[in-house]
């Protein structure tokens, strides 16, 4: 249950909306109960009065007040139901925003390198599904169970006031919490694991499809397909188990409600016989209990998903980290000397590179060369402060990386990673991330330097054109150059460029190398690439291949 705590806190922030929404649901239930109960009372009263009239007894019955009451409840039920749906839907959408913002804030505080190890698409799907599971926490689980309980207490209160023996009729309903608890417990593990099992199967399916040629050639596709079907079958069976348990719980809760209503009638009638209750009131309670049953119908389904919700909460709680950024110990902004002493990058506890010692003066340039997998990117990640798996000494502008808070360290660094992301926004918005106060002229200048002016001329909206999802409207080389422009635009003392010209042809690369000099010359630069030809002019080289 602890898993839910942060999410309950999030809900609590909107307690006013939740209370109003809850009251609207409660009003709907009460109007339904009132409609049935009053109608039952009215029919019984008129029938008994009618009998007296036939027997020649002068009897009187006010038919206008109950008639009006019936009409009121009929209307009230419709109106409150409509308002409830509109209002609560609005609340759910607001909560969705809350959940997303809360999660994103936490993820943003976490260590940038942390998510890199997970397969991003799967992780994202999982995350979005989990977020969706959280925004129904209130409307499907908390509100219905709370209101069912409230209705029960209200009924008990009225019964205790009018005729305490009627309280016995609520006895069958007391088995509901037990049934719901058992249901939640039995379905807990399967519901909780279902999500993860689905994602595992999805991963296996994708692997099999992508390696289809190889499997088919080796005549291994059929066993793989059978294994996939078998796994999907296991998932189906798990789900069937959950639904069957829910079906039984549904039956049991219906049984409880109907037994309660029958008991209410029998007790009411015996109270009438002993003269403690009038006939119409005796039947009023029967129908009220029957009407109250509506508050219980959705509960089994909601409780069978308890495991799903809790699992989602637990996974989301694991994402991100809570750390408070400190501003102390920032390396001085502007270019500074970079110094590495016996610097080793590690991966899974093994050294990825040989110990590296070098000194780069302020405004100096260093190129790191090496084949793929030689540790270039990991080394740059360490310099950027997003990879902490290193030993030795790292200093920037005289500040040791160990003594500086990581946010302060990163604030003075601009880093073009190998797989940088372009947002589904305009070219200008993608660039201004790096420098929010950049003028349009600044943007045009930097775009010109990376040879994107010909592209801009073909776009009707110029720098205000959308780049599409992950920059889809641009070619690979254009995407790379836009990302390079963004990295250059960011004011920083240390500039890190990892394979800056992937997908850019040699002639353009040479042209860009010259054009971006003004952005390079004012800071300390470290480049990484597989050859000197694909990097801007550099003074010092480190070849990681020879180094080994």
């Amino acid at each position: 249950m602890n898993e839910l705590r942060p999410w309950l806190r999030l809900l609590a922030a909107r307690w006013q909306r939740l209370v109003i929404g809850g009251l609207l649901i409660f009003a709907t239930i009460l109007a339904g109960v009132g409609l049935l109960a009053l109608s039952g009372w009215f029919i019984t009263a008129t029938a008994l009065t009618g009998l007296l009239l036939v027997a020649g007894v002068a009897a009187q019955l006010d038919i206008y007040t109950p008639g009006g009451g019936i009409r009121f409840f009929a209307l009230a039920r419709t109106v409150s139901r409509y308002l409830e749906r509109v209002y609560n839907h609005d609340t759910v959408l607001r909560l969705l925003a809350d959940v997303r913002v809360a999660l994103f804030t936490r993820l943003a505080l976490a260590h940038p390198g942390k998510t890199a190890t997970k397969r991003p698409a799967d992780w994202l799907n999982r995350l979005v599904a989990d977020v969706d599971a959280m925004d129904t926490l209130y409307l499907q689980l908390i509100a219905p169970s709370g209101l069912a309980l409230a209705g029960l207490l209200l009924a008990a209160f009225v019964m205790a006031l009018v005729a305490p023996p009627l309280l016995w009729s609520l006895a069958p309903l007391t088995m509901l919490p037990m049934v719901l608890y058992l249901l939640a417990r039995r379905t807990f593990a399967p519901s909780r694991n279902q999500g993860e099992q689905t994602e595992a199967l999805r991963g296996r399916f994708v692997d099999a499809l992508e390696g289809n040629g190889e499997l088919r050639a080796a005549q291994l596709w059929s066993p793989e397909a059978i294994a996939l079907l078998r796994d999907s079958r296991t998932l189906d069976t798990t789900r069937l188990l959950v639904e069957q348990q829910t079906a039984i719980a549904n039956g049991v809760s219906l049984l409880a409600i109907q037994l309660a209503s029958l008991t209410a009638m029998l007790i009411g009638l015996s109270l009438w016989q002993s003269g403690e209750l009038s006939g119409p009131v005796a039947l009023l309670f029967t129908l009220a209990v029957l009407g109250l049953g509506e508050a219980f119908t959705g509960l089994p389904a909601a409780f069978s998903r308890f495991g799903t919700t809790l699992g989602a909460a637990a996974r989301l709680n694991d994402e991100g980290a809570i750390h408070t950024p400190e501003q102390a110990g920032k390396p001085a902004p502007g270019p500074g000397p970079l110094q590495l002493t016996d610097f080793i990058v590690e991966q899974n506890g093994e050294a990825l590179i040989q110990p590296l010692s070098l000194q780069l003066p302020a405004n100096g340039r260093l190129a790191i060369l090496g084949r793929s997998g030689s540790g270039k990117s990991s080394l740059l990640d360490c310099l950027a402060g997003i990879n902490h798996n290193w030993r030795g000494e790292l200093q920037l502008s005289g500040h040791s990386a160990e003594s500086v808070n990581i946010d302060g360290w990163r604030a003075n660094i601009s880093y073009l990673t190998q797989r940088t992301h372009l947002f589904n926004d305009t070219i200008a918005a993608n660039l201004r991330m790096a420098k929010p106060d950049a003028t349009d002229q600044d943007l045009h200048r930097i775009l010109d330097a990376v040879a994107l002016t010909p592209l801009l001329e073909t776009l009707p909206d110029g720098i205000h054109s959308m780049v599409g999802e992950q920059g889809r409207t641009l070619s690979g080389g254009e995407r790379r150059r836009l990302a390079l422009a963004r990295a250059l635009l960011r004011p920083s003392g240390l500039l890190l460029l990892d394979e800056p010209f992937t997908g850019v042809d040699a002639a353009t690369t040479r042209r860009i190398c010259t054009a971006i000099e003004p952005w390079l010359s004012c800071r300390t630069c470290v480049f990484a690439g597989h050859a000197v030809a694909v990097l801007p002019n550099t003074g010092i080289y480190v070849n990681l291949d020879e180094y080994q």
Binding site: F205, G211, L269
Partner: protein, 546 residues
């Protein structure tokens, strides 16, 4: 969707039957309760009879609740067979389409169809279809009962009956619109959120997470406002149904009350008793209940229809030049690979390969080069049997191309979420650990695996995460050593590899040839061409002279 329904029909009918039984038991239960109230309150009670009716009511409740449980149980398994059959058919289809056709859709999309869209059909079979039957049968059952009690009250219900299809249409329209709007908004919202999540580390590097967070809040709120405008209208349609259900109860209650008081002297009203009055009142909400439930399940239908349309399109989409199994291969040849006047033209009119004949008589290392789009891959696909020739015959060892297992190494090798050993033993289940290590040594991965504490039992994550591209391809090559295929086809085996990985891979390929395998590689890489025994050049689908 209709023709796929057959296996579910039994379960759907059983669910509807259980639902009908529950409704009948409900009628008996409510009638019994009304009767008991009548007997006691009017003082006509006969103790023996009273007890019998109470027992009847109890039995009815038992039948009703167990029927409801049964209905849900049947519903849960309604789509079981359908989903399994669909998944199997889809896998068969993927197999028929072959690697060439599959390459046209992203694996993620196909996975979503195979898992999520197939799953989306469940609600339609489990809830919507049985409820559809029940929303006709149950009101009819109640109407007949009320007709027997008081035809005027039945008339009230009947009068609202023609409105029911209208309600359903209204509800349907509302639900569809609601569903569509909801899905669209969620889709766009998720898109925005997903985009920011994907780029999270970029945002962090640029110190831009604060503005991005505000942006998420703003976008979500904007979509909420737009969405709510439509929802306010869409919810009205279900409010109408709710309204009529409430009003019907109110009208019937007041009519019965007045009738019982003797204010209405017309028709059957004079014969109303507490029993019949109460019974009718209790039945009135049940008359509308199935419809209200149908409205709740309406979105199941919309979702399922969308999914079904997508799946139908997938299954009907005949693959380009699909492989036709079991075709006769005339002639007997001992050549490893023999292409006899083979040509390929694609459906869109493009010519893949001009008629060409080619014989590879004995084991050797063959390189196929040529500019991109010249037909190198098409040629490999033909020999692999992934693609059927438009004309001509392909023979491998005198048989159909895929009659026997052979080796295939594409750019993205198949790596399973398993250990290193598991990934290697896929093709050679009986190989010893020593043989596995030897194979890894041949591709230069032996050292890597010896360094790991778990050795061959080191797990590889799904999608080969934790392996570089070069390592994954070398692992797949190690498999070729273990399987000892007589024929190995490779499509750009060295693309995107650094020189050292490339050298390692070429060395391994030469060793494979020395072991007596025929290897055909499509590549334009000079190092690969230098290593080959024989070079074929393709230009515009035509084989140049060697």
């Amino acid at each position: 969707m209709k023709q796929r329904q057959r296996p579910a029909l039994g379960t759907i009918r059983a669910a509807a039957l259980a639902g009908t039984l529950a409704a009948a038991a409900t009628i008996v239960q409510l009638g019994g309760m009304a009767w008991v109230a009548h007997q006691v309150l009017t003082g006509e009670q006969l103790p023996g009879q009273l007890l019998a009716v109470i027992i009847l009511v109890l039995v009815a409740i038992a039948v009703r609740t167990s029927s409801v449980a049964l209905q849900n149980r049947y519903a849960a398994s309604a789509s079981d067979q359908i989903r399994m059959a669909l998944r199997r058919d889809l896998l068969d289809h993927f197999h028929r389409v072959g690697p060439v056709g599959l390459g046209q859709s992203s694996a993620g999309t196909l996975a979503s169809e195979w898992l999520d869209q197939v799953e989306a059909l469940h609600g339609y079979y489990a809830h919507y279809l049985p409820q559809m039957i029940l929303s006709v049968v149950v009101p009819l059952l109640i109407l007949v009962t009320v007709l027997w009690l008081d035809w005027l009250a039945a008339l009230f219900l009947l009068l609202s009956a023609p409105l029911i299809p209208l309600f359903m249409a209204l509800v349907g329209m509302g639900a569809e619109k609601l569903n569509q709007q909801h899905m669209e908004t969620l889709g766009r919202l998720s898109g925005h959120f997903l985009d920011r999540l994907r780029g999270l580390s970029t945002l962090q590097l640029f110190d831009y997470t604060g503005p991005a967070t505000r942006d998420i809040a703003r976008a979500t709120d904007e979509y909420r406002q737009v969405n709510m405008k439509t929802l306010r209208v869409a919810f009205l349609s279900s409010a109408v149904l709710e309204f009529f259900a409430s009003i019907a109860i109110a009208v019937i209650a007041i009519y019965i009350g007045f009738g019982l008081l003797g204010y209405i002297s017309y028709g059957p009203s004079t014969e109303l008793t507490l029993f019949s009055g109460l019974f009718i009142l209790l039945l009135a909400p049940e008359f509308y209940q199935p419809l209200r439930q149908l409205a709740q399940h309406y979105h199941d239908r919309a979702t399922a229809l969308g999914a079904a349309a997508q799946l139908r399109q997938r299954l009907n989409n005949a693959p380009e030049a699909a492989v036709v199994p079991g075709r006769e291969v005339a002639g007997s040849s001992t050549a490893v690979v023999e292409l006899d006047n083979v040509a390929v033209s694609f459906r869109d009119g493009r010519t893949g390969l001009e008629p060409l004949s080619l014989t590879i008589a004995s084991p050797q290392l063959v390189a196929v080069s040529g500019p991109s789009g010249a037909g190198k891959s098409t040629l490999l696909h033909l020999i692999a049997g992934f693609l059927a020739p438009t004309s001509g015959v392909v023979r491998v060892n005198g048989e159909l191309p895929d009659a026997r297992p052979f080796g295939w190494l594409g750019q993205s090798p198949f790596i399973r979420q398993d250990t290193w050993a598991g990934n290697l033993r896929m093709v050679a289940p009986d190989a010893t650990d020593q043989e596995l290590t030897d194979a890894l040594d041949k591709v230069g991965l032996g050292e890597l695996i010896r360094q790991r504490p778990l050795g061959l039992d080191t797990p590889i994550q799904e999608g080969g995460a934790g392996l570089s591209g070069g390592q994954a391809r070398r692992l797949a090559t190690a498999r070729l050593f273990l399987a000892r295929y007589p024929l190995i086809l490779m499509d750009e085996p060295t693309a995107g590899l650094d020189p050292r990985s490339e050298h390692c891979l070429l060395e391994a390929i030469r060793q494979l040839r020395d072991q007596g395998a025929t290897i055909i590689m499509a590549s334009h890489h000079p190092a690969v061409l230098n290593a080959a025994d024989r070079c074929l050049t393709l230009v515009d689908g035509r084989l140049q002279d060697e």
